[in-house]
């Protein structure tokens, strides 16, 4: 506050007047001109995005742009709340009827015949057994580039990494599986592979030649993926025809 202002205004000790009233709150534009560096860039961007929003609202096609989503409340939550007690009841029923057992106590000097993690880690455990696929280098006299175990840990990292970048490989908007058979087939491949690799991890429990099992682990998933692709492609024809027909009947092309 400039010194000259102070004289014609009474000193107020009640705390009011510290915060500017709403109509004096600076706009993004004003804040932009006052600041510099990164905060200036931030305000510049805010101003742009506000304008973008405004433009979109003014355009008549706004309601018709691609659907982003429908509200979590109430659409989703109502249904979820309705089945909550059913789900909790199911868990209590399961635990009352099938209590867990206690295994023999830990004994470091006696290795059990079967060592297993919980079922949901079988896939990861199976990836540790990819030794035969570990490339060896002729230059190094046939010795392997990496220890088999290191190779297995790396395989885990690669798989999780691939799943993580899926949104950056497949773009666009949400689609049902029949609308994008290729990515659905990739998914079927992945699901089937997680089962076959899990079966590989418990190979001593499966009555099958381990070599055959190893081959099947890598053969079955692509076959399943291919079948899924064929089926979905066939279904897509009919599905898209129906959808388009209904759509154009309601909104005839201009």
């Amino acid at each position: 506050m400039a010194p000259s202002d102070e004289t014609d205004e009474e000193v107020r000790a009640d705390g009011t007047g510290i915060v500017p009233p709403d109509d004096e709150t600076p706009t993004w534009g004003e804040r932009k001109t006052r600041s510099q560096g990164l905060s200036r860039l931030t305000y510049e961007y805010f101003e742009r995005s506000r304008r973008e929003d405004q433009d979109m609202r003014m355009e008549s096609s706004y309601v018709e742009r691609d659907v982003l989503g429908f509200p979590t409340w109430p659409h989703e939550m109502i249904r979820n709340l309705a089945i909550t007690s059913f789900f909790v009841g199911m868990m209590i029923f399961l635990s009352a009827t099938l209590p867990p057992h206690i295994g023999p106590p830990a004994n470091p000097s006696q290795t059990p015949a079967v060592i297993l993690p919980d079922w949901y880690l079988y896939w990861s455990f199976g990836l540790l057994k990819l030794g035969p696929l570990n490339p060896d280098l002729a230059i190094l006299g046939g010795s392997k580039l990496m220890a088999d175990r290191t190779y297995g840990v790396l395989a885990n990292v690669v798989i999780v990494g691939f799943i993580a970048i899926v949104p950056f490989l497949n773009k666009g908007s949400a689609r049902r599986p029949v609308e994008q058979p290729f990515w659905a087939a990739v998914g079927v491949f992945g699901v089937v592979f997680s089962f076959t690799i899990a079966a590989l991890s418990v190979k001593n429990l499966i009555p099958m030649d381990p070599n055959l099992l190893f081959d099947l682990t890598f053969l079955v998933p692509p076959v399943a993926g291919f079948i899924a692709y064929a089926v979905l492609r066939t279904m897509r024809e009919g599905y898209m025809f129906e959808l388009n027909r209904r759509y154009y009947r309601l909104r005839p092309p201009k």
Partner: protein
């Protein structure tokens, strides 16, 4: 002059002028008391603002807009799997907290024979002597298994409906962190009874971390407290399982669901 603050807006008088039921009166008294100290109104306003911004932005869905008759898609029930995971997580958290009253993470010998460890003995106590102890442990185990299963299926639902695409990439990656945390939760819990399965699963864990290039030994020492299983392994697993993971996972689930709330559910029309 009294130093007591004046009730400028006479909230008391306003309350008297209304014909309020005891419940309404009690509610308003508490609300005003808290608001005068914590400025709740500001925060409520902020939240309300967020709520309306989030919801008003959502245009009509494609099916609603064109009145297509495939409004109900037979896969929609799978959209409940995310909240099923949350539910199982809550059940596991409650039963786990109760189990924690009776369990102690110690590999010291229990009793004179020196055969059993204290950890193993406390599980035996819970299963055989504690009233409803078996149900508690059973509930904890089952809710954990159900949670992992639900999270896997939830991820598949998100994948097959293409719900991970823009603008939901962040939530997808957050989801991968969550599923990993869920499995680490399961793994650390699996070691706690300190039976044969636990011990040898722990052994594999140590070997796996030792085989990480460069950082292997460091990781084994940090997570497992050494290169062979001991008291420090069990204690670290316990602290991970009941302290670190719950905090991290709960916070991330809250963020994950918060983002869903802001963005809305993806609709493959």
């Amino acid at each position: 002059m009294s130093l007591e603050r004046k009730d400028d807006h006479d909230h008391g008088g306003w309350m008297k002028s209304r014909d309020l039921s005891p419940v309404e009166k009690g509610y308003l008294t508490v609300l005003i008391w808290l608001d005068r100290r914590l400025r709740i109104v500001d925060y409520l306003e902020l939240m309300e603002d967020l709520y309306y911004k989030a919801n008003l932005q959502m245009p009509k869905s494609h099916t609603e807009q064109y009145n297509l008759d495939n409004k109900f898609w037979y896969w929609y029930p799978l959209y409940a799997l995310g909240s099923f995971s949350t539910l199982a997580y809550v059940v596991a958290a409650i039963s786990g907290a109760l189990l924690g009253f009776y369990y102690s993470p110690s590999t010291a010998a229990a009793g004179a024979e020196g055969e059993l460890t204290v950890a193993y003995a406390s599980i035996t106590f819970i299963m055989t002597e504690l009233n409803f102890g078996y149900l508690l442990r059973s509930l904890h185990r089952w809710s954990a298994q159900v949670m992992v299963a639900a999270v896997f299926l939830h991820m598949l639902r998100v994948y097959f409906t293409g719900a991970y695409k823009e603008p939901r990439e962040l939530n997808w990656i957050l989801g991968i962190v969550l599923i990993s945390l869920t499995m680490v939760f399961g793994y650390t819990g699996y070691l706690l009874p300190w039976d044969q399965l636990a011990f040898w699963a722990g052994q594999i864990g140590v070997e796996m971390s030792l085989s990480i290039p460069l950082a292997g030994e460091w990781v084994a020492q940090l997570i497992f407290g050494g290169f062979s299983l001991s008291q420090s392994t069990l204690q670290r697993m316990y602290i991970l399982h009941v302290f670190f993971l719950p905090f991290i996972t709960t916070a991330l689930i809250a963020i994950h669901i918060g983002i869903v709330w802001m963005q809305g559910i993806a609709e493959p029309h």
